[in-house]
């Protein structure tokens, strides 16, 4: 990840099965609905300093539902 470049996360609602592991690891970045399915907070924009947490939830999703996009 390049320094200073905004990082966005994207949750693929089709792939998400509601494990909520992203929410357990990074409630600053995602929330979950009534079925436990995740959605991005703040349009997916990752606040500065939380880039490692964004990477962590990508690497902990068993459904491969979360991706990181650099603007």
């Amino acid at each position: 990840m390049a320094i200073g470049v905004p990082v966005r996360i994207k949750v693929d609602a089709e792939k998400c099965e509601g494990h909520s592991r992203c929410y357990a690891l990074a409630p600053e970045l995602v929330d979950v609905d009534d079925l436990g399915n995740a959605f991005e907070l703040n349009d997916g924009e990752v606040p500065e300093g939380l880039e490692d947490k964004a990477k962590l939830i990508v690497d902990n999703c068993p459904e491969y539902a979360i991706t990181i996009e650099e603007d």
Binding site: E17, G18, H19, S20, R21, Y23, A24, L25, V32, D33, D34, L35, G36, K55, L56, D59, N60, C61, P62, E63, Y64
Partner: protein, 417 residues
């Protein structure tokens, strides 16, 4: 695994054409073997290389995949790999009750779509991180009370006196049944799943006890609604109709068979790990900020649950043919040790970053109670470490492991300080 077999000369392969060629682990694994229960990891490693979808004739026959990619793919083979009979050993026909719809059911775990979908949607709102807030508060209080009960003695059985005590109480509270039922719940669950797995009469006996108990509870809630899960399920509608009693009873049954010995196995395995690995225990004392990744790592490494599927038709996958009716063990614990997906999988790394473990399964049957289980594990371990930061395994030889579908330690004697 099938392309090297010369079927004209190999009598074993000749008799069992879909299987691996030699009489060994790959064609004769035993999920109840004490050595396998103590150390399934080396067996999975051997199979993953030699025969990644192994077969055994034991206990009615089953297939055992060990690769992560295969488990991921097979979990999504719905409904050709059906979940209607998720127990590894089928009940003999004589003991199967066919007189009442759903008698043996525990939806959504024992259902395929579409029933799986609507029963799951009825259940999930009660098990989101926010839906279990009340259980978190209760669990914190409970864990302190349990520790109060033995801390002065300077020792306890971390499995029997602690791990095993937590999930049945949390589930009883969630369901809205009296806490005095807890000892019965423990006996019933072991009767159905642990001891009953190889003893069908015992399993049928406890199946009927559980069903009769919840049928009475559901009838009561229809008349006297309370603020609990049983009432909530009784009041849930599907396509304009209230969920039928049989379905609600099955969903209550699910709370017992899926929500108790599974979670106590995870808590027990974690305490067993720390009691015997002083470096890791000290690391958690010094770096409590690691709990988030540590819990996921302990879930990965000691994943307790293996569910089963049945092929609904002949289906080829990964070089083998599952015949219609064949039983497939969804070896999620084995997948979690696949070196293709986990760096140094045989090490517990409490700060593991890349960890797409599938301890709770994957796909549409992802454990509906996973957030509750994770919360109980987190509260149980954090409270224990807060009160008893120093502890060791006092008698390693006394430790026993239960297995079959739910692997975990049943005796873990520890001393404090």
């Amino acid at each position: 695994m099938t392309d090297t077999v010369d079927r004209s000369t190999d009598p074993v392969a000749d008799a069992t054409p879909e299987r691996c060629p030699i009489h060994d682990l790959a064609s004769d694994y035993d999920m109840f073997d004490p050595d396998y229960l103590r150390d399934p990891f080396s067996a999975w490693a051997e199979l993953r290389n030699a025969c990644p979808i192994a077969h055994t004739d034991r206990y009615g026959g089953s297939w055992l995949p060990t690769r992560y990619d295969d488990l991921q793919a097979m979990a999504k083979m719905v409904p050709v790999l059906s979940s209607k009979s998720p127990i590894v050993i089928d009940m003999p026909d004589a003991l199967v009750k066919k007189d009442s719809t759903g008698y043996n059911a525990a939806s959504p775990i024992s259902a395929d779509p579409p029933e799986q979908g609507w029963t799951r949607r009825a259940l999930l709102p009660h098990f989101t991180p926010k839906g279990i807030a009340a259980e978190r508060t209760y669990s914190e209080q409970l864990c302190h009370e349990l520790i109060d009960g033995f801390i002065e003695e300077g020792k306890c059985d971390a499995a029997v006196d602690y791990a095993q005590q937590i999930p049945p109480r949390v589930i009883a509270r969630k369901l809205g049944v009296d806490e005095s039922m807890v000892d019965d719940f423990i006996e019933w669950v072991r009767g159905v799943l642990e001891l009953g797995l190889q003893q069908p009469e015992l399993r049928a006996k406890y199946r009927d006890i559980i069903r009769d108990f919840f049928a009475a509870e559901v009838a009561d809630r229809r008349q006297n609604p309370k603020d609990d899960l049983i009432t909530a399920l009784c009041q849930t509608e599907h396509e304009g109709e209230l969920l039928p009693d049989d379905v609600v009873v099955g969903m209550c049954n699910l709370q017992l068979v899926a929500g108790i010995d599974t979670t106590w196995s995870s808590i027990g395995s974690a305490l067993w790990h720390f009691a015997g690995h002083d470096d890791d225990r000290r690391r958690m004392v010094d770096q409590p900020e690691l709990w988030d990744t540590a819990i996921e790592e302990l879930l990965r490494f000691y994943a307790p649950v293996t569910m089963a599927r049945n092929a609904t038709e002949d289906v080829e996958y990964g070089g083998v043919t599952f015949k219609k009716g064949d039983k497939i063990l969804m070896n999620f614990p084995g997948a979690n040790h696949d070196p293709d997906h986990f760096e140094n999988p045989h090490e517990v790394q409490l700060d593991r970053q890349r960890n797409r473990h599938i301890a709770f399964g994957v796909g549409i049957h992802r454990c509906a109670g996973s957030n509750l289980a994770r919360m109980e594990m987190e509260v149980a371990l954090k409270t224990w470490f807060e009160r008893i930061p120093e502890f060791t395994l006092s008698d390693p030889d006394a430790v026993t492991w239960a297995g079959g579908q739910v692997r975990g330690p049943r005796i873990v004697p520890v001393t404090f300080g």
